[in-house]
């Protein structure tokens, strides 16, 4: 039994037992963030906030949602939208949030790529972040099944069919995933379970891990400069205006947090503008037709955030398309290892890599556009070229970074 003194305050009482002061130091007051950053560094907290919003709105939707193929559609579109007090608010917040969380994830990812924040000790940050991307994708897909509209059903049909592996004909695997020959009750129930329990648990775990990977290497800065954190921390703790100006770092809380919160405020204005006045983009009209296993809608396409990888699949023959698709899903994991340059610097100072960055961004944008258009005529050709470009860029990456001049 450890020795405990009588505590003089609640804070002291807690500190004796769970070390709140140490925790505060590690997580807030002495968690050093470089000064030289811009608002893109706030995207992590924006994502955390969006996840929180999705969690809360999801809890209230869960109270009235019925995971049954007969009732799901009306429980969402009638009960929640008509009967439940503010049910419509939770649904629109959940739908818009699901779309925006991917917008911010992509911004967050490309920020990391631009500033080289995935190497020299920061590999695990990148890998855990990519793990989160995959988990969020699974979460988004499983959630898309739940209203059991036409898009839910046919997205479920098409995506699960990917697991047949083309000419491998692993139909048994597809049936195992669905629990039926087609997406039906068993399928809806298990994707409901994935969406509201297993995947959120995994996401929460991965978020904690992602934060953990960040603590020792610290976040990167706008110049990719190696900061002497010990010296800068000493200067900050000295506490004079003079020394604080000289210090290259600020504590996470409250200084960095104050900027995070401001960025979040701007983001929330956009978020709630969309929730109240422009939610249609996040709720496809086709999904307002109830699921019908005997009639495929004229146009089916995934939500916008999956379009680029969908388009990588589409222009090729079945097997090649599946290989391309599977590769595209995991290729971003390999970024820290394919980038052979030791430079941690913004892309604009890295020669050819600068070009690579904008080419990749533009190519993914083109793939996204083509992914939604009907695969005919010129759109198919552009899609094919963009898909090939995507892989050429990845093959080129180790070569151009190998010959990159050391800064």
């Amino acid at each position: 039994m450890a020795h405990f003194e009588k505590a003089n305050s609640l804070n002291e009482w807690l500190d004796q037992r769970i070390g709140v002061n140490t925790l505060k130091k590690v997580m807030q007051s002495e968690y050093w963030i470089p000064k030289n950053i811009n608002f893109l560094w706030a995207m992590g907290m924006v994502l955390a906030a969006t996840f929180g919003i999705l969690l809360v709105s999801g809890i209230f939707l869960l109270m009235y949602y019925q995971p049954s193929t007969d009732l799901a559609f009306d429980s969402v579109n009638y009960t929640i939208m008509t009967e439940v007090g503010y049910g419509w608010l939770w649904r629109h917040v959940h739908g818009v949030g699901a779309s925006l969380v991917f917008l911010i994830i992509y911004i967050h990812m490309f920020t990391g790529i631009y500033y080289g924040s995935y190497k020299k000790g920061r590999e695990l940050i990148w890998l855990s972040g990519m793990l989160l991307f995959v988990l969020f994708s699974a979460e988004a897909f499983s959630g898309y099944m739940l209203p059991w509209g036409q898009m839910s059903y046919w997205a479920g049909m098409v995506i699960t069919n990917l697991f047949s592996g083309g000419s491998l004909h692993a139909d048994g695997l597809v049936e195992w995933i669905r629990g039926d020959y087609v997406p039906a009750q068993a399928y809806l129930s298990r994707f409901f379970m994935l969406h509201v329990l297993l995947l959120p648990l995994a996401i929460i775990g991965a978020i904690v891990f992602h934060f953990g990977t960040l603590r020792l290497p610290h976040v990167n800065n706008q110049e990719g400069k190696e900061v002497d954190f010990a010296e800068s921390a000493r200067l900050w703790k000295e506490g004079t205006t003079e020394s604080r100006r000289k210090s290259e770092v600020i504590p996470f809380s409250p200084v960095f947090l104050s900027k995070d919160v401001f960025v979040m405020g701007v983001y929330f204005i956009l978020f709630f503008y969309l929730v109240f006045y422009h939610f249609e983009f996040a709720m496809d009209p086709v999904n307002f037709d109830p699921a019908n296993g005997l009639s495929t809608p004229t146009h089916i396409y995934p939500e916008w955030y999956f379009l680029w990888s969908y388009e990588v699949l589409r222009p090729f023959s079945t097997d090649l398309g599946l290989i391309a698709f599977a590769t595209a899903q995991v290729i971003f994991f390999t970024l820290p290892f394919l980038d052979r340059s030791p430079n941690v610097a913004p892309a604009n100072r890295r020669g050819l890599f600068h070009l690579w960055f904008w080419a990749m961004l533009a190519d993914m944008l083109v793939l996204t556009f083509m992914g939604k258009l009907p695969p005919q005529g010129i759109w198919s050709t552009i899609g094919l070229v963009a898909a090939i470009t995507f892989f050429v860029l990845w093959i080129a990456l180790p070569i151009i970074t190998k010959f990159e001049k050391k800064l």
Binding site: E83, G85, Y86
Partner: protein, 175 residues
């Protein structure tokens, strides 16, 4: 640490709390019973065809409702026991209308028409023809649901003057 900095931090915190209260109010509304549930809280019972000393069970808000038309002898008995307040008079007929859940712990008592009495099988509580308790453990007679009289019909869920009087003089507790 300048005081202005603390002030702005606290102002923001306070304002955020205000928004939090708004969100909590929305959440409370979400948790409320649905309008369709509330609308189902009204049931109309037509008493025209009720027979003397034959127990009819209706459903109101998911609970069983006992309706028992009193025979002349039963009314006499009720008069003697000073339990006329518990009966509802419609035209020349008297009716016992009560929530069919034992006031002890909520089981449904069974009716014995030969003895004109109710017996709750769970813990042996007994009630007479006006649903007044005659044997413990139930603390009181069966509760009377809110009602209003509309011709020969009874609308359950609405508080009519007769029901309000019963509430006021303690004949029944509020259900």
């Amino acid at each position: 640490m300048s005081s202005r900095r603390d002030f702005m931090g606290m102002a923001l915190g306070g304002f955020t709390a205000l928004g939090g209260i708004g969100a909590l109010m929305a959440m409370k509304k979400t948790w409320d019973p649905l309008p369709s549930v509330k609308a189902a809280g009204f049931t109309t019972i037509d008493l025209k065809d009720a027979q003397e000393n034959v127990l009819v069970t209706e459903k109101w808000r998911g609970k069983p409702i006992f309706v028992l038309k009193q025979s002349k002898a039963m009314v006499e008995k009720a008069k003697k026991a000073k339990e006329m307040d518990r009966l509802i008079k419609i035209g020349d007929d008297h009716f016992m209308v009560a929530v069919g859940l034992c006031t002890h712990l909520g089981c449904i008592p069974g009716y014995d028409s030969a003895n004109e009495s109710f017996l709750c099988a769970c813990h042996g509580g007994m009630y007479d023809g006006t649903a007044m308790v005659t044997k413990a453990p139930p603390p009181r007679g069966l509760d009377i649901p809110p009602f209003t009289i509309d011709g020969t019909k009874l609308v359950l869920g609405e508080q009519g003057p007769e029901y309000k009087k019963m509430l006021a003089d303690g004949t029944t507790l509020k259900v």
